[in-house]
């Protein structure tokens, strides 16, 4: 088994003291970012990325830390969902549905413990999937030429508009805004400047981090200041913080099914934890909720979204590592990390950077166990942190974010840009435009446009190239299928209007 020996060498990388420490740090920080309402994995990764880079960490260590924050945040998102009925991040919206009622019944402790175990199982199943499927996909990723990448992008945008957020139209508008921002700068095929207005700072387009920090940190902070100044949370009492074997066994099939669903949804480009948890919750509701107890504090209703959103994080790394295409907005930031280090994400990553890839995968096994272990004793600490006053939290976050933006280019221009984009993001959010499509639009538009033009350059302007290969035809088929999902989901939403009501909140 070549995979196992490679994984073994990955563990060699992981068990270096620095990397072990970074996994630990990533787990703690990730849980924190996930737990704090408003801040999610994207904010965490976006804020920490420039700091890693400035500290001069080796690329595999940076990625280990950032990935730790990513799946750690999926772990931590459940805490405020259960205790406060406020989802810690987008992936934890469905966790509130049964998590909060459980807490109200006095079962906050078991709910936290059970969701911790589900998260762990979901995460682990996804990592095992990642370990074995990623090399397989990587081996035929080399067949992905420009035309295949272009059709893959079509599929990704179809997924974004069909599945993400409450309104497909708003998602598409978000994608378009992302495109508009992404198109600025030198055109990579002809070298012509586009929309740079003679401003040398814009020749290379918008810096990725500037956009991320603007849309996710600055606008988030403006919302935080607005929302939470007057709110007072009441913490439910936490009694026993363990879960019995009986309770876990009661949910075992739900956990296993949701883990697989979360993983598969994660692999699809353009999706994310919010979709994974939505799909698994609605499916479990259909399959096992015979008595109609979902939404009133059913353990299975809590286990489903939690195992799914953690599994999704592992799945989303597959297209990122093998094709260089981010499966979600957070992996888009991770991809940005690779590019910052001048590493070419794509089919050759597994061949050229085995230390990086296998170190990262191995670190996730360790990170998941660490998360499970630290989450039990530290759950009381994390609930205390939820009570950190905003006057302390907000300035710290904004300072961290801006230091990061500045450090990449050492330019105050980027700071101004991040602020402007933050204000734009704030208004978009006020109008209920989801931010993830904007980021995906921004990141993917370059891949899409470049590959469209490369494909035409190769074919000499013939459009047949997009229908030529088996991969292309499969992708077109999947795109068509995705367009049927909204109709299906409308049907589901009508039947289970509860989930929708809370999701659109």
């Amino acid at each position: 088994m070549e995979v196992l020996s490679l994984l073994g060498s990955g563990f060699g990388t992981v068990f270096q003291p620095l990397n072990l420490f970074l996994i630990f740090l990533g787990s703690i920080l990730g849980t924190l970012f996930g737990a704090l309402p408003g801040l999610g994995p994207i904010n965490g990764v976006a804020i920490l990325l420039p700091i890693c880079y400035t500290l001069g960490l080796p690329v595999e260590s940076s990625l280990i830390l950032l990935a730790g924050i990513y799946y750690g945040a999926e772990f931590g998102g459940r805490i405020s969902s259960i205790l406060l009925n406020v989802p810690g991040d987008a992936g934890a919206v469905f966790t509130t549905l049964d998590g909060y009622p459980l807490a109200q019944k006095g079962l906050a402790g078991p709910a936290l413990a059970l969701s911790g175990v589900s998260s762990f199982i979901g995460g682990t199943i996804a990592i095992i999937g990642l370990t074995f499927f990623a090399p397989i996909l990587a081996s035929f990723a080399i067949d992905f030429g420009p035309s295949e990448y272009f059709v893959l992008m079509i599929f990704a945008f179809a997924t974004v508009s069909a599945l993400m957020g409450a309104s497909p139209v708003k998602s598409l508008v978000g994608v378009a805004i992302g495109w508009i921002i992404g198109i600025v700068g030198v055109d990579s095929t002809t070298g012509v400047m586009r929309f740079s207005f003679g401003e040398a700072e814009l020749y290379d387009g918008f810096e990725f981090l500037t956009v991320i920090v603007g849309f996710f940190a600055v606008s988030e902070i403006m919302l935080m200041l607005e929302h939470h100044s007057s709110e007072n949370f009441e913490m439910p009492k936490i009694t026993r913080i363990y879960v019995t074997m009986k309770e876990i066994l009661y949910c075992k099939w739900t956990i296993l099914r949701s883990s697989v669903i979360g993983f598969v949804v994660g692999v699809l480009p353009g999706t994310g934890a919010s979709i994974a948890s939505a799909v698994s919750y609605t499916l479990e509701q259909k399959l096992v909720d015979k008595e109609g107890t979902f939404g009133t504090g059913d353990m299975r209703g809590l286990a489903a979204p939690e195992s799914a959103n953690n599994a999704c994080a592992g799945g989303a790394l597959i297209p990122m590592l093998t094709l260089g295409v981010p499966g979600s907005a957070t992996t888009a930031v991770l991809l940005g990390a690779l590019m910052l280090y001048n590493i070419n994400p794509g089919p050759m990553l597994f061949v050229d950077q085995p230390v990086l890839v296998w170190g990262l995968i191995a670190s996730m096994y360790v990170g998941n166990i660490m998360l499970l272990v630290i989450n039990f004793p530290l759950v009381r600490v994390f609930t205390k942190i939820l009570q950190v006053p905003y006057w302390l939290l907000v300035p710290s976050v904004i300072v961290l974010a801006f230091v990061g933006v500045y450090s990449v280019n050492a330019s105050t221009f980027s700071l101004g840009m991040a602020t402007m984009l933050g204000i734009l993001g704030y208004f978009l959010r006020k109008l209920h435009y989801p931010m993830a499509p904007v980021i995906l639009g921004f990141v993917l538009c370059e891949i899409m446009e470049d590959n469209l033009r490369r494909a035409f350059a190769i074919s000499g302007g013939e459009i047949n190239i997009f229908f030529g290969s088996a991969i292309n035809l499969t992708l077109w088929g999947m795109t068509l299928a995705i367009f049927c999902v909204p109709m299906l989901s409308k049907f589901i939403a009508k039947k289970y209007s509860l989930g929708k009501k809370i999701a659109s909140k």
Partner: protein
């Protein structure tokens, strides 16, 4: 008030004079890399900063600072506009910079806007194909390309007008076809182009040999020709040049430095002397080999003349290719 001002200016003059008497010595020497860390300009800077340090030629350590943007355009404008008098800073440049200047991509500034200091290393173009390609010589490949230009795509890591594109255009010209007829695919960096070559999406990769050297032993590719004047030393010595195969295609990617436009003659000479000293040291040779760069040394006036000739040559080429008017 007026008297005071007079006093101050005369004092300043005295200070200026006395400092001019002391020979110039940078207090905080900096190498400005007009890109993000990790790229070619970073490498160019590190060559000098590391070997200066190793050979103990400067009293103060020389640091590298970064100013990414527009393949050097941001730094070029910044140096001319805001740090025109700064004698402490050398700025990395390359063939790509000269090409951009020739095509007017550095704004209103041309090659006469800065003071060219020295070129210290070079890489050479190479014609690379997949290991199982049917061609074994450049002539076979070019004959095929000429017969059916529409059947073969050349792909490389730069946009139209970049040094990668010019390399491809020169190859097309050697095959006797108009560069406008060739199928050129622009990738984001050489790595992507190599992957596409491996996947069979493009057939010919006009790359750079030092950049490619990490993949050279992988056995997945075949180098049909090196675009240098003579054969290269070391592990590449068995690779034929295009010239010895009868095609006069040479493509040098030189790496060098310029100084701010308003540095004094004395300051310029200080740097020229330092670099002249540096290139004689074994430390420099070691650092250059470490970075996979080939010997290429032009210092002071010689380099200045060389860069200006390069820009002039590129200007003609860009015009011929229809990129500029």
């Amino acid at each position: 008030m007026n008297k005071k001002l007079q006093f101050v200016t005369s004092m300043l003059a005295v200070v200026a004079l006395s400092s001019a008497l002391n020979a110039f010595e940078p207090k905080k020497p900096v190498c400005l890399a007009p890109a993000k860390p990790g790229g070619g300009f970073d490498l160019t800077c590190r060559l000098v900063t590391n070997s200066m340090m190793a050979a103990k030629l400067l009293d103060k350590p020389m640091i590298v600072s970064f100013m990414p943007g527009g393949v050097g355009a941001v730094a070029y404008n910044h140096v001319i506009g805001q740090r025109a008098n700064d004698p402490e800073m050398i700025v990395a440049a390359s063939t790509g910079s000269a090409l951009n200047i020739a095509q007017g991509k550095f704004g209103n500034h041309d090659e006469n806007s800065v003071k060219w200091l020295a070129g210290l290393g070079a890489d050479y173009g190479a014609v690379i194909v997949k290991a199982d390609a049917k061609w074994n010589t450049l002539a076979e490949m070019l004959a095929d390309l000429k017969a059916n230009p529409k059947n073969f795509a050349l792909g490389s890591g730069g946009s139209i007008g970049s040094q990668d594109w010019f390399k491809a255009a020169l190859i097309a010209k050697a095959a006797g076809i108009d560069p406008k007829e060739m199928k050129y695919v622009a990738f984001e960096g050489g790595g992507e182009a190599l992957t596409a070559l491996l996947g069979g999406h493009i057939q010919i990769y006009p790359g750079d040999i030092a950049e490619f050297s990490g993949q050279y032993e992988s056995g997945k590719y075949k180098v049909l020709a090196i675009l240098s004047e003579d054969r290269l030393p070391g592990k590449f010595s068995n690779l034929p040049t295009a010239k010895e195969q009868g095609f006069d295609v040479v493509w040098t990617i030189w790496r060098g430095f310029y100084l701010a436009p308003n540095v004094t003659e004395e300051q310029y000479n200080f740097w020229v002397a330092k670099i002249q000293e540096l290139v004689k040291t074994p430390e420099f040779a070691k650092e250059r080999d470490l970075r996979g760069l080939f010997p290429f040394t032009k210092i002071g006036k010689e380099y200045d003349t060389f860069v200006k000739a390069e820009v002039a040559k590129f200007r003609t080429m860009a015009k011929e290719a229809g990129l500029t008017k």
